[in-house]
């Protein structure tokens, strides 16, 4: 029997597979399809202090091997997440969940995290300083080490839960930003968020996305994600939560060899609602194929020699 468990900030997960924020809602739609307690955990939809409708539609465009989204952090706001989503979540998910948080000022990030800190359902805070879909918003914080560190410090001051900083790949130097977050107290680094991209409709001659641009994700971005996970793994000591184009058990191993302690699955959930369950089912067999007994053995394995 292979061992699929991994440890994130002292908490043991049954397996490293974590649906990524924004592709799993608050779990409800998937809990109707399968028992989502098979997951390592999951990261819920990016939550902000106030409710947000998000961007105008169309918000979605298809690409080769991926998709663009410009949802723009639609969410009911942290108060309703705490009063409605989390109590409902408790009825079908019995593991600590990852609370994904966005904000438009350092104070907002901190306040949202402070409120979620009080929730026993929340095991980790994943602070998204990288959403490309909101103006003057999240991505600004993720493109400079100073701002990313400022957000980290503010959040760390209001919570005792482990805090991951989720970074944008749309930067020249991901390593310096990851290090700044670690130095400011981050307990983990999640990467990557989406790459800023666009599509144009030849019939209308206009951008497909109402907001013009949006975030590219899916298999197409996996090589970029692997590279950044690899680079950041060498630079920080805290765990790296890797994501970007993962859609198979093989991809999970590849991400872990690059340096990920756990692996998130985003767009693949949208195309195949059973993607995470399927990956978890196949993981032991793929581990055996590649001679992996304990999954923790291979974290960062591609850096040896």
């Amino acid at each position: 029997m292979v061992d699929t468990r991994v440890v994130l900030n002292g908490v043991t997960l049954d397996n490293p597979v974590i649906p990524a924020s924004g592709t799993f809602g608050y779990g409800h739609e998937f809990a109707e399809l399968y028992d989502i307690n098979c997951l390592g955990t999951f990261s819920f939809k990016g939550t902000t202090l106030s409710p947000r409708f998000g961007n105008p539609t169309p918000r979605i465009a298809e690409c080769t091997g991926g998709m663009i989204n410009a949802v723009g952090l639609q969410n009911p706001g942290v108060a309703k997440v705490i009063s409605e989503e989390l109590p409902r979540l408790r009825t079908y998910f019995h593991k600590p969940v990852v609370a994904n948080v966005s904000g438009f000022s350092v104070g907002e990030y901190a306040e949202t995290c402070r409120l979620l800190d009080a929730c026993p359902e929340v095991g980790w805070l994943e602070v998204n300083v990288s959403c490309p879909n909101v103006h003057g918003g999240g991505m600004g914080f993720g493109t400079s080490p100073e701002m990313a560190a400022a957000v980290t410090r503010a959040v760390k001051a209001v919570t005792t839960k482990p805090v991951w900083l989720k970074l944008t790949p749309n930067v020249t130097d991901i390593v310096s930003i990851a290090k700044a977050c670690e130095d400011a107290g981050a307990d983990g680094i999640s990467l990557i968020n989406t790459l800023l991209g666009m599509r144009i409709d030849l019939k209308t001659r206009k951008p497909v996305i109402a907001n013009k641009m949006g975030g590219l994700s899916g298999s197409a971005v996996k090589p970029i994600a692997l590279r950044m996970v690899y680079q950041v793994y060498e630079a920080v000591k805290v765990p790296v939560i890797g994501m970007g184009g993962v859609s198979s058990a093989e991809d999970v191993l590849e991400m872990m060899l690059a340096g990920a302690t756990a692996v998130q699955v985003g767009a693949a959930n949208l195309v195949n609602p059973f993607a995470c369950r399927d990956i978890i089912k196949k993981l032991p067999c793929v581990m055996e194929k590649y001679g992996v007994e304990k999954l923790t053995d291979i974290i960062g394995g591609a850096h040896n020699g």
Binding site: E29, I60, E62, N69, P273
Partner: protein
């Protein structure tokens, strides 16, 4: 909703660039006309959402227009080939009301879900009528299938090459109805909104990420707050829509 591998039973060109495909597979998750399926095609990342036109215990029919690369691939499919399909998506048309003479207003590909709807309404003992709108005579499809159900059918063409000249709303004169159901393009909806006087239901389209409510890709604002076209729709009541 269920996911399954469905087998193409038939796939034939109708008029215009419309096609009819019959798929064999699990239909147990279908609860109402106006629901849709979401089809995975080799070589494309996102699925393609297509309305259920008709279904029985083990097969379903869709009508689709070739408009881009994905529907082009669909048109090439041969009987015996298989497709990964999410079936029974969305809330369809609500048909349990007290109306007696519902009017079905369809434009182009929007005609598809009205066929299953007509059957459901007839089963409920109601007396539906249908107005089917096309651009031109050479595009007309499924009007005979609607007639074969035994309901009055009017055809309108934008260029007047067959039936009544004009839009679906130009064919309203003299039709008695106490409710309406419609599926078609936005300009048609705006014309309907100006012309009809009863309550009714509109079916909406939006670019979709997932089609089952997970991604918030298809949100629209209604009088009852934000709704997902894929999960809370695609059909919405006239009363809740913000135009």
């Amino acid at each position: 909703m269920n996911q399954g591998i469905y087998t193409v039973k038939s796939n034939r060109a109708l008029n215009g660039s419309y096609y009819e495909m019959r798929l064999q597979g699990d239909t147990s998750s279908v609860t109402a006309p106006g629901q849709f399926i979401n089809i995975k095609l080799d070589g494309f990342f996102l699925r393609r959402p297509i309305s259920l036109c008709d279904w029985d215990g083990q097969s379903l029919t869709i009508l689709y227009k070739v408009v881009g690369a994905g529907t082009e691939v669909m048109a090439e499919l041969r009987p015996g080939q298989t497709l990964d399909v999410l079936c029974g998506l969305g809330n369809g048309f609500q048909t349990g009301g007290s109306e007696r003479m519902p009017l079905l207003l369809g434009g182009g590909a929007g005609i598809a879900p009205l066929y299953g709807l007509a059957k459901a309404l007839l089963r409920q003992g109601k007396q539906p009528a249908a107005i089917l709108a096309f651009n031109t005579a050479a595009e007309i499809f499924y009007s005979r299938e609607f007639e074969a159900l035994g309901l009055p059918v009017r055809v309108a063409t934008a260029d007047g090459s067959a039936g009544i000249k004009g839009f679906v709303t130009d064919a309203l004169a003299g039709v008695d109805y106490d409710y309406f159901y419609t599926c078609g393009p936005m300009p048609m909806y705006r014309a309907i909104e100006r012309s009809v006087t009863t309550s009714g239901q509109y079916s909406f389209e939006e670019r979709m990420g997932c089609g089952f409510g997970a991604c918030m890709g298809c949100s629209c604002m209604t009088k009852n707050g934000s709704k997902r076209v894929c999960k809370d729709g695609p059909v919405f009541l006239r009363e809740e829509i913000i135009w």
